[in-house]
Symmetry: C2
Subunit: 307 residues, 2 copies
């Protein structure tokens, strides 16, 4: 499980940072990549990475501002052009479907794969064997969502080598032992499954927020997350500006990360004003409020280990 | 008058070539830049040039395939974000307005300048003091236009130094002389204006075609052009493929340039299959049919001198 940042800028593309897109790479977990936001030229950024568009099976849009949205028609078209045939689902606020369908209709683009849309509402928007995704509303000029991606626990693995070393013959009892049950063998030995399975691993939690002011919903979205991706459009002494423009400061994000008991904070959506010395200060100031903070750059890859 | 190629690829962006956009820089002529097609990430390409988005006053879309269109909402938004306030007009086939208006509505983008649309029909679509633009239909899978941009003649300039050297006093007669009239001075001398004005310069002609098969309308669009920009999606021995996919070969474009008495042929819309040795052959083969041919690359700037 890795995050790869395809665009870390705010508002307009700049030479140093493209507009927003984040890839959650679930290759080991599901052989899939999920995208969060698709700013213009996200497909161009992907060309510089090892990500293959056909692996992208789900796209989550936080909000419909252009710097998070306008790369969608091109990415969808190129995924088709490259022969992708696996279904793709787009989750987002109402309006994303209108935009995409209009773009495809006007350009007479026929996709080579089934495309479906889920209009996001606060609550659980996805729940399958390995992951749950919960959405909640943030506070931006336009409807903006945060997503909490929760991996289900990995159950313990049966230690087959140990079973065989102890001369416990394979058969239906292996399934019982794997489920942690106690069984009695034909030779009279009583065996406890717990001695033959590895410890279950709790799943990881990744929280990715759209653009937002500070608001109560963030806490529940971010609580105990392994990684929190939070916007940082403004710096230390700009809380007023942040509020006025419905954004957050680096310090607000860091304080929230501390309160929510987050493992790591990744700051993104960095204004083009922040370069050189100013970006250094942005990092330092945030770290003084929450030590494990990083300001990400385009193409940064962040591994998310088990706890 | 210069052409700057912002994207010279076909279909999908590639590392070497972005999708189509061409800037016609009319800075000396009108202090304006006109764009022809706006593929995704055109605004990103512009960041690498000296072009300022606010100088872009007219955008001509040849056809609505995504690789010629999908950069439009982002470019319009950034032009606004950067404080552009001069009106902008978009010329294109029916559907471009639907796409742009949907993108702006869904993203709640309010532009800082007046935006208007002209649905192109075959014929003269623009005619003002310095330029005429004529459009005609080509032959592509989707409605595709070619544009013939005709600069009006530059009238002769009055040679004031020569007038003064000949002791011809300034006054209302200067205007008559400039208009090429004959006047009689108070000292009885008869003066012919033609001796005191530089020769009028014929305007330049630039023809920019959308994606197309070979078709009759191209000849009239390209006739006597100083520069013809023609797609070259396929190579020498691929005429069948070109026809099948509604595109042209390098040789077809070169033969047309020869027949139409064009000064210079610029081949663009180059497939990602053409790199290294193959691009060299693409050039050589075309030049054997029309010597003054160039295969353009992203960021090539072509000056268009007076004849
Ligand atoms: Zn944003
Ligand atoms: Zn094309």
């Amino acid at each position: 499980m890795e995050l790869e940042f395809l665009g870390t800028g705010a508002g307009s593309p700049a030479k140093q940072r493209n507009v927003t897109s984040i890839a959650l790479k679930l290759l080991a977990e599901r052989n899939e990549v999920w995208l969060f936001d698709v700013g213009e030229a996200t497909q161009h950024q992907i060309l510089q990475t090892t990500i293959r568009p056909r692996k992208i099976t789900k796209i989550f849009i936080t909000h419909l501002h252009g710097d998070h949205l306008f790369g969608l028609p091109g990415l969808l078209s190129s995924r088709s052009f490259q022969g992708g045939d696996e279904p793709l689902t787009i989750y987002g606020p109402e309006g994303v479907q209108d935009f995409v369908r209009t773009a495809l209709r006007v350009s007479e683009t026929r996709l080579s794969y089934p495309l479906s849309f889920v209009t996001v509402q606060p609550g659980t928007i996805l729940d399958d064997q390995t992951f749950t995704v919960v959405a909640d509303l943030l506070d931006h000029r336009i409807k903006s969502y945060g997503y909490r991606i929760v991996e289900k626990p990995h159950p313990g693995v049966l230690l087959v080598d140990k079973l065989q070393a102890d001369h416990i013959p394979a058969g239906p009892i292996y399934a019982k032992l794997k489920a942690g049950e106690k069984v009695i063998l034909s030779d009279g030995r009583q065996i406890d499954g717990h001695n033959y399975i590895t410890e279950a691993q709790p799943g990881r939690i990744v929280t990715i927020l759209g653009d937002t002011r500070q608001t109560a919903s963030i806490m529940a979205l971010a609580q105990d997350a392994d990684v929190l991706v939070h916007e940082s459009t403004f710096g230390k002494n700009e809380a007023k500006l942040a509020k006025q423009y419905y954004h957050s400061t680096n310090i607000q994000a860091a304080k929230l990360a501390q309160k929510a008991n987050v493992q790591q904070l990744l700051l993104t959506h960095i204004s083009a004003r922040y370069v050189g010395r100013k970006i250094y200060e942005l990092i330092q100031d945030a770290q003084s409020a929450f030590a494990n903070t990083r300001v990400v750059s385009d193409f940064d890859i962040i591994d998310i280990p088990f706890k």
